[in-house]
């Protein structure tokens, strides 16, 4: 061992002198050529503003250790992937986020996507559902079925999954403050199909921390919200063991303007916060940690994004093993879904978006994602049309079946540049995590407005860079031209009428006494601080609406008001 170490050191030292000579020789030639061509040496930076060198060599990886930093796929620290087989064993799940109009409309879109070879479902709810209000609430005016599918009660959920066997398909639901309610509805639909909760599989986003930080669909204040999240961890571990009870999300943090490092750091620190709260409840780390999942953005900067995914896996494995002492290997895994970047899409010359999405999706695949959503070219205008979503899905299929990138695991592992970027992102994210630890954790940092301000600063910096043309956006601040309008999806105004009619019908025909008593039981349980999941399930089975259940909880928990700062 000591002899081998010595040999290795000698070899590296010998190489280093040669490498330095070579580096100086190349650098002279590089400067000479730049001078001759008369171009100014460009200060290149990544999309996130990171300075990038024109060339990387082993000199950049002097403290790099194969086993410590990289290892083999399926082995700690999982930099190369969580599975020994990666895409040789199974491709990522192609999961297009979709939902619009009524439950009938979205049920049809789901069946279309499954027929086109999509391998999992992902539900987009309309804004009233996301905010925990019903379609007949005054604030829902104009919003019904617009940003997603309208779901007010179990009756809508039954239609949404009609003819879709819940024991055969996995479903992801992007839902946060009312996550427990929509999850309960899904469980209730499964029961009606005769499928046990122990068999169903899927994900609820349920990541409330990033709502205060970035996406801003919050209802209750942070602390009772965290309590509700831990209820779902506890219930899931016992009753719905194949369900991912949270998808800890960097996506929205990035969309709000964060840099790659901020996305990485805030997301992982959110993850740490959930673990701490669950441990505080008395849950055992290895009981719930394997069901934690993640969700990242795939933005424009190809290599920086790939490095971000690799660094994420490495940091999380270390956090789980070293900081929390998790023993199960599955607890160390960072499993993640990826969506290509919505903000990177442009209204100008919208067909160019197909190319942006393809590059971003390729970064997600080279970064080892478990599941992927590719955005549609028309999303700067409206929800995707069937035509546009088909191209988006085909983009994934072309990467999977034609490009050859799935043939080998972590094909960029060992690239001087990618390994260096991975190290840099890891170190910078860790110092952010430390800073938030020092502030007293993420809930405290949010109360202080720390991540919110960091993100707003980055967003403004980026916008200024674009306006100074330091960052070029094709078709926007360069290569501009007129383009023809593209066909877009229009949500039929009749959707609102249909939805309001069904809601009235549900309220008229359900057992009113049962609704009243289940809601009263829920309120009592919330005051007693017991696990609310069984009570929410009872409400849902009685056809209490999302709005009624959330209102009951608002009475106990109150609502969160964000300070109006910019």
């Amino acid at each position: 061992m000591s002899l081998r170490t010595k040999e290795r050191q000698a070899k590296t030292a010998g190489d280093e002198a040669g490498l330095r000579r070579g580096w100086r020789r190349w650098e002279r030639a590089y400067r000479e050529e730049i001078k001759q061509t008369g171009t100014q040496p460009v200060e290149a930076t990544s999309t996130s503003g990171r300075p990038i060198k024109p060339l990387y060599t082993p000199l950049d990886l002097k403290n790099f250790d194969f086993f410590r930093d990289l290892g083999f796929p399926g082995e700690y620290p999982f930099t190369r992937g969580i599975h020994p087989t990666m895409y040789r064993g199974r491709l990522w799940t192609m999961r297009q986020f979709s939902g619009f109009g009524t439950a009938e409309d979205t049920n049809r879109r789901f069946k279309y996507l499954l027929a086109q070879g999509q391998t999992g479902l992902s539900v987009a709810f309309h804004l009233p559902t996301l905010m925990g209000i019903d379609s007949d609430h005054p604030m829902a005016k104009g919003e019904i079925g617009k940003c997603g599918v309208a779901v007010d009660s179990l009756a809508d959920m039954e239609i949404l999954f009609d003819g879709i066997p819940l024991d055969k398909i996995t479903t992801s639901m992007t839902i946060n403050p009312p996550a427990a309610v929509l999850w309960a509805m899904y469980i209730a639909v499964a029961e009606k199909q005769g499928v046990s909760p122990r068999v169903i599989s899927g994900t609820i986003q349920n990541d409330i921390l990033k709502e205060y930080i970035a996406q801003k669909t919050f209802v209750f204040p942070p602390r009772p919200s965290m309590k509700l999240v831990v209820d779902t961890f506890e219930f899931g571990a016992k009753e719905v063991p194949r369900w991912n009870t949270i998808s800890i999300s960097g996506y929205h943090i990035r969309e709000a303007g964060a840099t790659a490092v901020q996305e990485l750091a805030f997301t992982l620190r959110d993850g740490i916060e959930y673990v701490e709260w669950a441990l505080e409840r008395g849950l055992h780390i290895d009981d719930f940690a394997p069901r934690l999942s993640f969700f990242f953005n795939a933005h424009n900067d190809f290599f920086e994004e790939i490095a971000k995914f690799r660094a994420a896996r490495k940091i999380w494995a270390e956090v789980m093993r070293e900081r929390f002492g998790a023993k199960k290997e599955r607890s160390w895994w960072l499993r993640f879904h990826t969506q290509t970047s919505g903000v990177s899409l442009m209204a100008q010359q919208p067909y160019n978006n197909v190319v942006r999405v393809a590059i971003q999706a390729l970064a997600a695949v080279l970064g080892g994602t478990q599941s992927l959503h590719t955005n549609s070219l028309d999303e700067t205008y409206a929800l995707p049309s069937e035509h546009a979503v088909t191209i988006a899905l085909r983009t994934q299929q072309i990467i999977a079946y034609e490009s050859g990138v799935t043939n080998t695991i972590d094909p960029l592992g060992g690239s001087y540049y990618v390994e260096k970027l991975t190290q840099e992102l890891e170190q910078e994210a860790k110092s952010y995590i430390k800073k938030i630890d020092e502030l007293g954790g993420m809930v405290r940092a949010i109360e202080l407005g720390f991540p919110q301000k960091e993100i707003a600063d980055s967003a403004y910096r980026y916008q200024q860079a674009v306006e100074r043309k330091e960052k070029i956006i094709v078709g926007v601040n360069a290569f501009e031209m007129e383009h023809e309008p593209i066909p877009i999806l229009v949500v039929d105004p009749a959707v609102a009428r249909h939805q309001l009619r069904r809601l009235r019908e549900v309220k008229r025909t359900r057992n009113k006494l049962r609704v009243k008593s289940t809601l009263a039981d829920l309120k009592r349980a919330a005051r007693d601080e017991v696990n609310l999941m069984p009570f929410i399930l009872d409400c849902v089975r009685a056809y209490a609406t999302v709005g009624e259940i959330m209102d009951a909880l608002k009475e106990v928990y109150g609502v969160y008001e964000e300070p109006c700062t910019y």
Binding site: Q215, K216, G257, Y381
Partner: protein, 161 residues
């Protein structure tokens, strides 16, 4: 909240012909309300606009998220603003904007120019301009273009502060 605002003589709507000069140093600054109607929480654009207008020397008031048309119009009148900027990405603009324009007219504040940005399909623009919105800025618009537009189109309203 129930403070009554005296609206002296209703001023002429903003137009490129009749406008006060851009405020020179020491003059009162243009007051702008940036408002978020609709249920969506996408505030990146609104916040970037707030900062850019502030850096261009305007006084910016931000409503925060999920404001009703009533709240927005009340805020505009109480803050006595020269311009309202609406940011919406939820798709509810065709329902909420007409309501805001109606309430402004009803409150005798139809002279406050209203501009908007967000996810708004191009084909909706003519209808929105017809109900009185002065301009719609689509994704990709630079903050400098918006500032330029404001300088050219928005007069400093005569008022005592």
């Amino acid at each position: 909240m129930a403070e009554k605002k005296k609206k002296a003589e209703p001023e002429k709507p903003a137009s490129s012909t009749a406008r006060a000069p851009w405020p020179a140093a020491g003059q009162p600054r243009l007051r702008v309300l940036i408002a978020k109607p609709g249920l969506d929480g996408h505030d990146r654009g609104a916040k970037v606009i707030c900062r850019a207008l502030r850096d261009a020397g305007m006084e910016v008031i931000y409503t925060g998220l999920r404001r009703t048309p009533e709240e927005i119009v009340n805020a505009a009148i109480q803050e006595d603003v020269d311009l309202i900027g609406l940011s919406i990405l939820s798709g509810a603009h065709n329902v909420l904007f007409p309501r805001i324009m109606k309430l402004l007219a009803k409150s005798g504040a139809a002279d406050i120019p209203v501009i908007a940005g967000g996810i708004i399909p191009e084909k909706d623009i003519p209808r929105l301009k017809k109900i009185g919105l002065a301009e719609i800025f689509l994704p990709g618009t630079s903050t400098q273009e918006i500032i330029q537009w404001i300088r050219e189109h928005v007069p400093l309203r005569k008022k005592k502060r």
